[in-house]
């Protein structure tokens, strides 16, 4: 791919050095200045960026291959960006089995075999409180249900020392009628009042919050317990918000 002339080789090496220098001084915090790494070396010969650009033939890849390449190999994201859970940006972009199986294109649905596999996989992730599922504090649950804070990184990372990550429920669900929630998910208004509070119903709601794929394979709903965003105690608080007769959800 590189021409065999020594000049081109030197140009290529100096490009790498410059790119490396930029990477070393970049703290990965709030700025995203060297978005176009090849062009960041104005001193290099004009031909150099073209050589770098032609390194890989995008048209020889399948769309899926190219997508992976753009995400992980083509300086698409800040893969080294620290996350709140102590990993890096790369870990946020690598797919687990459920994410991979559920990345379905237009009009596509999972087949029955995959569905069963996902439901079983989801079931294996759910952990229950030692003393069984009990309702927590509906007031705390209300705070969590109406909070979208936490785990956002990119240009404005959430600081978990300053704010508790929430459950994001309100983004997609109408919950109580005192505030406006979204409607990507079903309405949860009157949840406990309608369903009662027998142990099976409590377990069902706990499971859905913890890992909804156990009943709804490839649902849009996040796995709030399995992903570690919500603790068992926090899920109990949200359950109280949904079931407690004194909660605004059931008023």
């Amino acid at each position: 791919m590189f021409k065999k002339t020594p000049i081109a080789a030197v140009a290529a090496v100096s490009l790498l050095l410059i790119a490396g220098g930029c990477a070393a001084t970049n703290t990965g915090k709030s700025v995203a200045p060297q978005a176009t790494a090849p062009a960041a070396a104005p001193a290099a010969a004009p031909a150099a960026p073209a050589v770098v650009a032609k390194k890989v033939d995008y048209t020889a890849m399948s769309p899926a291959e190219l997508a992976e390449y753009l995400i992980f190999e083509a300086e698409g994201y800040d893969l080294k960006q620290p996350t709140q859970e102590g990993t890096t940006g790369r870990a946020r972009l690598v797919q687990d089995e459920i994410q991979k199986a559920c990345s379905l294109g237009k009009g596509k649905e999972i087949d029955d075999k995959s569905r069963e596999k996902i439901m079983a996989l989801a079931a294996s992730t759910i952990k229950y409180p030692e003393g069984g599922i009990k309702l927590g504090d509906w007031k705390k649950g209300r705070e969590l249900a109406w909070s979208g804070y936490g785990y956002r990184t990119a240009h404005n990372p959430d600081n978990h020392a300053k704010g508790t990550p929430g459950g994001n429920c309100y983004n997609c669900h109408q919950i109580a009628t005192d505030r406006t929630g979204g409607d990507i998910g079903p309405s949860l208004t009157g949840f406990g009042k309608i369903r009662g509070m027998d142990p099976d119903t409590l377990k069902y709601a706990y499971d859905v919050i913890y890992n909804p794929h156990v009943y709804f394979a490839c649902t849009n709903m996040p796995r709030m317990g399995a992903s570690g965003v919500l603790s068992q105690a926090q899920i109990a608080d949200i359950l109280a918000y949904l079931f407690d007769p004194n909660s605004p959800v059931n008023k």
Binding site: L66, L70, G76, L93
Partner: protein, 281 residues
Amino acid sequence: MFNKTLHVLPVVLAVVASSNAGSGQLPEEVLDGLIKKTNNSVYLTQSPQNIMMLPDNPAWLVAEAGEALFKQARGPKNASLEQCDFGKGPGVLDGAHAELPRYFADTGKVMDLETRLLHCMKTLQGFTNDDAAIKQKHGSKSDIMKLQTYIASKSSGIPWNPPMQHPLEKAMRDAGEVMFYRRSGTMDFSCATCHTQTGKRIRASVLPSVYDAADMTKAISWPSQRTSHDEVRSSQHRVLECLWQMRYPNIKNGSDASIALISFWTDAARGEPAILPDLKR
């Protein structure tokens, strides 16, 4: 800020509107046509306030400043941007943004409006990545946003028609489609989580569906004044913010990943007229 804007606006609007003649419809006329055509799409009509404010869009001030910058000789090479080729020939702006992203032979890359603009500022004007003119990519006061808003305004009313003749254009659009449906991150989100059903809401905000081109043209018509930010924002900024909400790491401005997504969403609005500059929540 807003008070000042309102005082200056009528004058500026008269000037901009007259200089805009021949290059398409005013944004409010385009939106009105789309609302009628869709029989009051829930997405398009969700904010009566924003519809009312569209004719007095503060983004026109930003476009006006952009026109002056565009024609001014600047940078180490003391050149204007009037020879910049946005795909329809040097200096041709009418309808150019409606046909972006597209493949450019001189760079061998598919570029969107912002990356193409940066390319011209470097090659024609001699700016480097260290210059403030290039470094500052966001906000109504930045050169990049002034210039983008001006250039894009020349595509108002023109149907989105990003070319797909070159194999790279198709490859980027198709990779963008895969990325759109690709789930990952803390909460398993993909773009498809929110943008594949018509009329659904996140909180109180109605979401555009990628399957509805009339909704999509409004959704992707950037630059747009964002009333909640009091700034004009770009396509690149919209990508950044969506991915922030999705719990993804920082996407790099102008990266091929960002352009692939923009290629896909522009293709999803194909055939519907651009609303530029737009005004959104």
